[in-house]
Symmetry: D2
Subunit: 314 residues, 4 copies
């Protein structure tokens, strides 16, 4: 840390203005020279743009949290469809909810003034709650009907191969993450797949199923190994964050770009909230990397980043 020359580094904070004609690129450019999380969000946008522009950069995207229920399915779809993501690592929950929407089911919302329904009554009425989003139990029945008809080509295929196969079964022209990854040939990894409603249905209907999680692990390491330049965008921590990180740890080229959007913090010591700088000690992010952690709800930060990228690459 160049302690002695901080005077060479420090620059004026920008007391920026906003007009009704401000556009998103201009706003982000203004925020870049401020402080706190506005600055970090702006720099995250800038790093992401640079990742997209960088020749041969493999863009890893780690997605935890219940973003599909919260209404961000199309936003994530667009990240994939615009090729802002090369490799997706996510949770079984996100895929379960993506499948539900792809099959025509919907998630529901309340109002802020009536935010506190009695969970006992919700239970009796078979309405599952995810903070302020609701999913009727009957969605599970729809998923079960769908799963029951699937003929899995190989009980020992990797999870990512299975997810590609699954995406192919889904309607074209939907906003499905699974479908667009199939269409665009973008690998989806889901290391904790059996920790999901979708996997439970699959397991109940296919007692011999043994999707090969170790093959996924090795495939992921190979993809990381082959990346001449690696970048990562981590949303919400969890298993997706670590799975991307561990794959890059022993590679010739660790990550050169890193973005993290999370509400978790370093002090409790868990990986979800760990700083990106910490990952340098492990060799997961390289010493010369550009990185930015944005402490923000992803439902606010992700749409802004997408908007900035779409406008930048119009």
């Amino acid at each position: 840390m160049p302690d002695k020359n901080f005077k060479d580094i420090l620059r004026k904070i920008n007391q920026f203005g906003i007009t009704k004609n401000t556009d998103i690129v201009e706003l982000i450019n203004s925020l870049k020279d401020t402080g706190f999380n506005a600055k970090r969000l702006a720099i995250a946008c800038e790093i992401y743009k640079e990742m997209v522009n960088a020749k041969n950069c493999v863009k890893f995207f780690g997605l935890a949290g219940a973003l599909v229920p919260a209404g961000l399915q199309k936003v994530i779809f667009d990240f994939l469809n615009e090729e802002f993501i090369d490799i997706l690592v996510t949770t079984g929950a996100n895929l379960t909810h993506d499948l539900a929407e792809a099959l025509g089911y919907q998630h529901l919302q309340g109002t802020l003034e009536n935010a506190e329904f009695d969970d006992k009554i919700l239970h009796r009425e078979e309405m599952n709650r995810i903070y302020d989003v609701y999913m009727p139990n009957k969605v599970y029945e729809g998923i079960e009907d769908f799963v029951a008809k699937i003929e899995i080509p190989d009980n020992d295929m990797s999870v990512s191969s299975f997810l590609k196969f699954l995406g192919k079964q889904l309607p074209e022209n939907s906003n499905s993450i699974l479908r667009v990854c199939y269409d665009k040939d973008i690998p989806i990894f889901c290391p904790a797949f059996t920790d999901s409603g979708l996997a439970m249905q699959l397991g109940f209907h296919n007692q011999n199923l043994n999707l090969n999680h170790f093959k996924d692990m090795l495939d992921m390491v190979n993809l990381a190994w082959d990346a001449q330049v690696a970048g990562m965008c981590i949303v919400g921590g969890g298993v997706p964050k670590n799975f991307i990180m561990q794959s890059l740890q022993f590679c010739p080229n660790s990550a050169t770009f890193a973005i993290q959007i999370t509400m978790d913090r370093p002090e409790p010591g868990g990986l979800s909230g760990a700083s990106l700088r910490e990952a340098i000690s492990w060799g997961k992010i390289n010493e010369k990397a550009k990185y930015s952690t944005v402490i923000s709800d992803a439902t606010i930060a992700l749409p802004i980043i997408l908007w900035y990228l779409k406008k930048s690459f119009k």
Copy 2:
């Protein structure tokens, strides 16, 4: 809580899209029907617009946190200049930093990759740190020179009267909060004024100064009492939040609109993170109020709200 009829209330989550031509009003309208904090931010925007439109609504604005150092002086200036705020309650720190910028001093920023200067070296070099913002000690000297020349008209005047007097001394056409409040005749309350660098300088130079804090308290209660409709926007909690809340508690009309932007949470039990719903039990917010708490860094949420308001009232 209308537990039995939740089915009448629940509506579809909006899986919204973004294009390069999206504008801020359209984005907020999309987010309104999602979940988590994106929804809450969108509803906060909508409530703020409604406050501005509401006839006779007195808009209280509580501002804690170091937003001027972080580059939001002009954003707050615009909230005042556009008359989105009728009564400002803030901290001595924000006023101290506002004065510094008004006098031509600047706050400084580092880079994310060099974010961790040694505070011991910063101290030796007389550079004060506010997370990732920096303020040279010499700014204090500039404030002292300014304060030493002020002739306070009345040692027993209220803090808000003094702050109005102070605003008048500052350059026209600056982005100063103090100056625009003078120009627009917007009262500024600062209940913990003596908890600030500005007040320390004033006290050192005026040993007989006894600004009347109780007069402020009573003036504020009278303003709250006279409000036919009251609305509040609380940024960051702290004393400004409680001071607005306590003033409305015993009034004929408690708040009808309430917005809160904070990173604090209810569980530790402090007022800063308390839910707005809790304020209903105290009679500070009324039973039919519209309200929204956004868990977000204010440096991200406030510019978005301002942008939305400017575009909505173009």
Copy 3:
């Protein structure tokens, strides 16, 4: 929610005292009648004691976070050794670090005043950082040597069967979680096992390994199904929390006791911070359950709970 009769429920807050002769059971009893997280911690202790006392109660324990590196290996060992846990669900990271300690390696700590080492230098010196804990890279080499010699009995065995086999290889009389689970015949589930350093070493050395994660999933559902009474203690959220929850969702008896210790919060919408009350809507926790979420660093709360239990059952 029995809104009308809150007056029947409310009791006096206990303004409790502490003496040098206070003991842990007395302290917890005092805190039970206070507010905020002290109360919640006290009630968590009480619920855990009740779980241990309850006849036929199956105690599920979800363990995320880096607690072994932080020095809590022996605390978790004791929870297992005292039979306060019947089924453990954890992360691959915790098992990797447990194995390291069992093989004689150590985790390291700095001092608070020298808490900010340069991660670039740590990297060059092959010292991996976990917030304020450090692990030399050579530990991985030791794990690799161990793993290279293991002869896995069946490439298609479940992860939990493998972990039992692994525990058997470890030194008796160590404080190892893996070993005590073998000794006590306590099943360990690790749904995201391939998301760990241990699994990577296993995969590199055994290209045909395909531990059957679906078998684990079904075994876990069967254990949950058979539980006449179910209780859960969730530390830190993540995959272990959801894996326990999903297993109980469709069972005849969902959880009757539930404790959660976490720094995560509900507002970002992820499962880690979700309230226990929310799980009632899903049928994972039953309507008459006793539950308590403690917002606390687990390194503080877990030793207190263990201490309370040991003293209560002396």
Copy 4:
């Protein structure tokens, strides 16, 4: 930062055990050599003990948050009564609630399973909520009756002089913070006094009251100036934290010991969550200080620290 010699600093993490005979001093000694917040809490205990032992050390204690309603009045009383505090800086809210308890009123609690009363009904029944603590409106009436009878000796006295006078009016042998500070001649500062229910009642009944807040500010600076050794324990941030910090900023001896217990974090940039290290850059804490920030609910950490101190100084 001594980056090069981290190897000289790093020591083994202690995988500590707990028995039913463990006592609090032994537990804290064990936690000292762990990681995360357990370590920080243990070091906070140790620093506090050292502050008490240090000859001529003036112990400043900043108390924000609603700890009296939560049941910690007697804990804070004991910190004062045992002379673990030399100067108390607190909020008007804590003093209002302390007065209420001293006058014989009580705060109330619910149960965790019935934690979500309807605030509208609470309002109609005149029951004010503070997270999970409740205070009937009639307490305000009792405070008003008390306040109406007080004959304030001097309208222009400082707030701290008034609080001393107030303490004298309260029953001996109560657990009142105000009373024990009078008995022990411990100054109480309350920079935002007019931001409280107590001050509102005083103001309503004494229209000429103008307690001299600037005198408090100067008195506090003088006390800080005279401290040969200064230590601070900051609970919860807010105005009390800054008021102590600003008083020490320009003194010959800034703080040599510093403890902070808070759930706030640095990233949003506010002072409440600012690291203690940051205060070194300002000269509020000195370069050689021992310091520890504990991210913990104060209702858990404060009783533990008191218990440790009582046992250590038995």
